[in-house]
């Protein structure tokens, strides 16, 4: 594994500035990743290997992820970047507790991950992650009620409405998911996830099925929503898009394929900046080189 913390010239933690904030004063300024890091790591992944059983009798093992070690800092957005089939989604599923690991350990706040939990909410790429029989608001409220079953219904409603408003779906609050566009569905899923205030949010290429314009808009909105949370949510975000990784991630973990290993972990000084920003462009070029070397 190449650690490019020092190798990359422009590494420095940057305080986050919401780019499209209409009233920045009204929003709490989130802690910078560096400050968050002082609060400790939320996730510790050590020497993790993940095998899939395939073939007749499922006797044959295929290694999807090999010896991956990474820590996720509290309140940071870590992007896992790699080509298709490199095991990045597999790693995220294991972190979510949906897949068992073959060896190594995954710990969240010191406790081993053994099954899915509301402390690690996942946003899937699939548009069908919303409950079709609930409206937008009801979907978000469902998540809140699951998270805090004894919560006062009015408070649950308030939390759900705030998140729906943050993702810009107030006008669609009473619509059923089948009447929403792909982008709106993903916004609703993101609102539901943030509303449950998980310890870590796992996002598996949530914008992968969107068109380019909507994708950029959603990236922007994710940064805005993240920055407007009262307590910054830790996010692990999987993508194969270099620009998306640079725009979203405080750190970018580059993975190689066959089997998936960590190629490099890169600090990102250009998070939330346009791709034309020199730092962002430099980092994107650097990440592309890393991916090309792998290819």
């Amino acid at each position: 594994m190449v650690n490019t913390h020092d190798a990359f010239m422009n590494v420095r933690p940057m305080p986050l500035q919401p780019r499209t904030a209409k009233d920045p004063a009204a929003r709490p300024v989130p802690a910078s990743p560096a400050a968050s890091a002082q609060a400790g790591n939320v996730v510790e992944i050590e020497d993790v290997c993940i095998d899939y059983s395939v073939g007749p009798g499922r006797r044959q093992k295929i290694r999807a992820v090999e010896n991956v070690s990474i820590s996720v800092r509290r309140g940071e957005k870590l992007v896992i970047l790699g080509p298709s089939g490199c095991g990045k989604s597999t790693l995220l599923m294991a972190l979510g507790g949906f897949l068992p690991i073959s060896s190594g350990s995954i710990k969240v706040n010191g406790a081993s991950v053994s099954k899915p939990s509301m402390e690690r909410i996942m946003v899937f790429q699939d548009f069908q992650q919303l409950l079709p029989w609930f409206s937008v608001l009801e979907n978000v409220k469902w998540g809140v009620r699951k998270r805090w079953p004894k919560l006062d219904p009015q408070e649950a409603d308030r939390i759900a409405r705030r998140q729906v408003e943050l993702v810009g779906l107030s006008r669609q609050a009473d619509q059923y998911p089948n009447t929403l566009s792909g982008g709106q569905k993903q916004r609703c899923a993101i609102a539901r996830s943030f509303a449950a205030a998980p310890e870590i949010l796992l996002m598996d290429e949530p914008f992968g099925a969107l068109d380019a314009i909507n994708r950029e808009r959603m990236q922007q909105e994710l940064n805005n929503i993240w920055s407007q949370q009262e307590v910054p949510t830790t996010i692990a975000f999987v993508t194969h898009d270099v620009n998306e990784a640079v725009f979203l991630g405080h750190r970018v973990m580059v993975m190689t394929s066959g089997p998936g290993r960590v190629r490099a972990v890169v600090d990102n000084p250009a998070v939330d900046r346009s791709s034309e920003d020199p730092d962002a462009a430099n980092l994107a070029m650097h990440l592309r080189e890393l991916l090309k070397e792998e290819a």
């Binding site: 899915p116 409950l131 079709p132 699951k146």
Partner: protein, 277 residues
């Protein structure tokens, strides 16, 4: 060329008339069938003792329902409906339990697959002689036979419904830490509702046919009989119009049930977009 004196209707009026015709098309078809029936019996060489006119059948039906006669049909109707509603509820519960067990265990899945394959093609009325031996000439015999006709199509549809649920929704349930009952009630059943409704509709159809057929063969259960018994009695007393009235009642109840299923679909799966309207 002779000019028409008829004022030309505006395009909107033609479209309105067409929309009106389209809307009531089914009603026109039904009226046409009844009209042909009436005319054939009235003006054709048909013996009304064997095939009564539609108007006579309607008159018998109205008399039976208490309009100008003794309201005896309500009692027969309730007997049949109470048997089928009881059987329907039992069948739904059984089907949900069986398919839920099949989700949890591969042994239960194989058991359900084999038993559905065995009993679904079997006309459950064939079990009536055995049911009489086991339960006697009782209501339980009828319920047993009707449940055996309903439960398999419902279970079969529900199995398909469960199998086609998006894995993402199931993962969502796991992510929000739902237990087995929570997953079943909050994710699986609502997600499988389109197939469940299809199964209920087919199950109801099978059950409705079976209960009427069983009553025809079986006669009265306990102190009174159902619509099938009423139809059979009309043959014995040569009141063919009453028999047709009973058949018409069977059809009307079938259509009402169909409307109820459609109403449920419009309020649920059509609205949610999980089923094409």
């Amino acid at each position: 060329m002779r000019q028409s004196t008829m004022p030309a209707l505006p395009a909107d009026s033609w479209q309105g008339a067409y929309a009106f015709l389209r809307r009531f098309q089914k009603l026109f078809v039904i009226c046409a069938i009844f009209l042909i029936w009436e005319l054939v019996v009235r003006y054709g060489k048909v013996n009304p003792m064997l095939f009564p006119a539609f108007s006579d059948v309607v008159a018998s039906l109205l008399h039976g329902l208490g309009i100008g006669g003794k309201p005896e049909l309500w009692q027969y109707m309730w007997e049949t409906l109470s048997v089928i509603l009881q059987s329907f509820a039992l069948s739904v519960v059984l089907a949900v339990i069986l398919t839920s067990l099949a989700l949890a265990s591969s042994l239960a899945k194989d058991f359900l697959s084999v038993i559905t394959g065995m009993f679904q093609p079997l006309p459950s009325i064939a079990l009536l002689p055995m049911a009489i031996l086991w339960f006697g000439f009782s209501r339980e015999s009828l319920v047993f036979v009707v449940v055996m006709s309903m439960v398999w199509p419902i279970a079969s549809a529900l199995t398909v419904g469960f199998a086609t649920i998006s894995p993402t929704l199931v993962r969502l349930g796991r992510n929000y830490e739902l237990n087995a009952i929570g997953t079943l009630t909050q994710i699986m059943l609502p997600a499988a509702l389109p197939m469940l409704i299809a199964g209920l509709r087919v199950g109801w159809g099978f059950g409705w046919r079976t209960v009427v057929a069983a009553e025809l063969v079986f006669g009265a259960t306990g102190s009174s009989g159902g619509i099938g018994w009423y139809i059979n009695n009309s043959r014995l007393f040569m009141n063919v119009a009453d028999g047709f009235a009973g058949i018409l009642l069977v059809i009307i109840i079938g259509l009402i049930m169909e409307s109820i299923f459609l109403f449920i679909q419009q309020r649920t799966t059509y609205r949610w977009g999980t089923e094409a309207a």
